[in-house]
Amino acid sequence: MPRPALRRSTRVAVPVALSLAAALALTGCADKPAATGGSTATGAGGPITVNATDTACELSATTAKAGTVTFQVTNSGSKVNEFYLYAEGDRIVSEVENITPGLSRELKVEITEPGTFTTSCKPGMVGDGIRGTFTVTGTAAKGSADSKVAKSIADYKAFVASEADEFVTGTKEFVAAVKAGDVARAKSLYAQARHPWEAIEPVAESFGDLDPRIDGREDVIADGMAFTGYHRLEKDLWKDGLQKDSGAIADQLLADVTEIAARSKTVEPTALSIANGAKALLDEVATGKITGEEERYSHTDLWDFDGNLEGSRQALAVLRPVITERDPALQKALDARFTELSSLLAKHKAGADYKAYTALTDADLKELTVSLDALSEQVSKAPGVVEAK
């Protein structure tokens, strides 16, 4: 949902430092591909196979050389599975979601720095998953402060690209269900299709009318716009039933999502814009999700909450080396507060799904709000740390 006031305030805060940070970003991006491309061959022995069952996560190798590492993940269990590669602080390096039983999917990861990583299979897509340690060997250029920032930016771009792709994939499935008139299936896909969008919204919502066309609520009519996109289909699915133009709305949605995903990948973030985005995502939770406003028909607000929270956490996770170096106490507080709010939110899961917003009590909402306030106060300090000017 577009929030003009929010975007405006973000923009006001940015310009002074933007030019310098942007220059830095460009330097970093120019350096990176050369360093990566030239450094290493693919990990020896071809793809690492991952056998994911309901109770195990077996890798054919737990070490690899820096460079492109390929995982071939096969779900031989009975539950839908996911595979994650985490860096320190549970920053997602890459992940593959929605691996249905019997399916095998490939995950290619660019690992530019050696170190200790964590792999995880998540049967049923819940919890921390079945974890293991994964070691990457080899050499990488020692990061000065600037190269740390450059790496953060590269990592964030990779995260945005990955979420953008997920968004397109999920939207395709959702749109197909709508067009097939399969209301039950469309409803079951709706919240999770939107999830990657909620994680990268601050990056993507700056492209003209695309954001309101995709994610506008019914009140966009007041601005002279047609009510289209996800929330129009939400209303059809949950309230009015599918309409004559629902298929056309769905087609347009997929076209818009495909465009915004492509454009999201062209955004050149700065450390400052990443940090401000982390704050803006929590602001979204405070003003739109914890109030139950965003999903007024489906009441799937906790999925959006999860997406915003995860997006904020990932944005600050890429900045971890920078924040740890400059303000270790803040990094410690961020870790504690993200963990606290994530675990409070997880209390409202029902299996792999979230409870409806309407099932939350006043006490639940207060508990979440208190924790969100505590987290947001810490996150609001991050922009000043990464861009201390």
Partner: protein, 438 residues
């Protein structure tokens, strides 16, 4: 900026403070600027029977700063300001060090704000363009406005979470239920309280807002109450204000000019608490009650009935059967019909020290109006605040007597309640966390 502050307060603050405002406006014009820097003396160690505290004309300079430090906390016997923002909070962390650190951070910010400064140095814009400002800014350029920030600790703070059980003063007990109570848990209790009083509502609200912000993750607001007009005088230099029933309220209140009375009824004595709870000496207990008034019903009530319920005449405030506000009530006097001039169920009779074995309180309440309720009635009343040496020996017997028989009960409803131990004042260099976490 000072002129802006004054003119805004005059516009907003005309109600309920006419007498006080008259003193200052009459004495000032430009003169208010000269008074601005005057600090009110708060050298009020009441146990010493010396000269009464200085709470004369300069005390009524609405812009002046009230000293933050002293033998007792400011905001108790210092002259009652016109505006209140009161907040009760719960501690949400289990980390004792975080709470101790917050009390230290609060002390620093509170001292700065009561002096008229930003909550943190350079708080308005000093953090640069990329940081959220440390001060929220709405009081920037306004005078100190007599701001006092008074802290209190609820009984629940002394449970097993922070190892404070031994520090709990014996006199700090939850209030018992009273007949007629309609208490809402969402307006009651709290681990901590902050009472911010000022002569400018924006200054009081700013103080609470910034302290709450410093506390995110450590404390969370449980309930809060705004008050828009004082209902009590804490100094003989202040005129008696009226409550929402239209009657003068607090005529017989304890005053700053009665040091012996304060020592006897308000301040916790040196030997009241022993051992680990001795830190409370020089402090005071605060009882807060949100008393909703059934305004519409009261307004339809005849003058005779109103005066009989209160026990005073409405215009002058004199006890029934007497002629002047400060005349001593004569509870034996009969009216022309042979019945007591002050009815047996009258509020002044039941609440009077002579009927309660000499019990007195220092009242510091505020009128409130929180808009209207769901059926279009004014949600208004008295936010009763009273300071005392021992709630179990003072407020509890008084309220029991009132709850049982007070004719006023027909027109009021207690829907919020809390009790707090307010520690003594801070000496130079001390902060609130020290005595508690020593």
């Amino acid at each position: 900026m000072t002129d802006d502050g004054l003119s805004r307060r005059r516009l907003i603050g005309a109600s309920g403070t006419a007498a006080v405002a008259g003193v200052v406006v009459g004495a000032s014009g430009a003169g208010a600027l000269a008074l601005r820097g005057d600090a009110v003396s708060r050298d009020d160690d009441a146990s010493a029977a010396g000269a009464p505290p200085s709470t004369t004309a300069s005390a009524l300079a609405l812009d002046a700063a009230i000293p933050f430090r002293g033998a007792h906390q400011a905001g108790i016997v210092t002259p009652a300001q016109d505006r209140l923002h009161f907040v009760a909070l719960d501690v949400v962390t289990t980390d004792r060090d975080q709470l101790r650190q917050l009390l230290e951070d609060w002390t620093r910010a509170a001292e700065r704000m009561t002096a008229g400064a930003e909550a943190a140095p350079g708080g308005l814009v000093g953090g640069g363009p990329n940081r959220a400002p440390e001060d929220t800014g709405e009081a920037y350029g306004l005078p100190a406005s007599g701001l006092t920030i008074t802290i209190g600790y609820g009984p629940s703070l002394f449970d097993d979470r922070f190892g404070l059980a031994a520090k709990r003063p014996a006199a700090l007990q939850e209030l018992p239920p009273f007949t007629g109570d309609q208490l809402d848990p969402r307006r009651s209790g709290g681990d901590l309280c902050i009472q911010a009083c000022a002569n400018d509502p924006q200054v009081a609200v700013h103080a609470v807002r910034n302290l709450v912000r410093l506390g995110f993750g450590v404390v969370a607001v449980r309930w809060s109450q705004l008050g828009f007009g004082r209902t009590s005088s804490t100094s003989t230099a202040q005129a008696t204000p009226r409550n929402m029933f239209g009657f003068k309220d607090g005529t017989n209140n304890l005053k700053a000019e009665e040091p012996e009375g304060l020592a006897q009824h308000v301040w916790v004595g040196d030997s009241d608490e022993t051992g680990a709870a001795a830190w409370m000496a020089g402090g005071s207990y605060l009882v807060a009650r949100r008393i909703r008034m059934h305004i519409e019903v009261w307004d339809r009530t005849s003058l005779q009935e109103q005066e009989d319920v209160i026990g005073r005449d409405k215009k002058e405030g004199a006890p029934l059967g007497a002629t002047k506000e400060f005349d001593t009530p004569d509870f034996a006097k009969k009216g022309p019909d042979g019945a007591p001039a002050i009815p047996v169920t009258a509020h002044v009779r039941l609440a009077h020290e002579s009927r309660l074995g000499g019990i007195r309180l220092l009242r510091r309440g505020y009128n409130f109006t929180d808009g209207s309720d769901g059926v279009g009635h004014l949600d208004a009343g008295l936010f009763f605040l009273a300071y005392m040496r021992n709630p179990g020996k003072q407020f509890v017997p008084m309220q029991r007597a009132l709850a049982k028989a007070d004719g006023l009960n027909e027109y009021i409803e207690h829907n919020g309640s809390a009790v707090f131990a307010c520690p003594p004042g801070l000496k130079d260099g001390e902060h609130w966390g020290q005595a508690l976490f020593a």
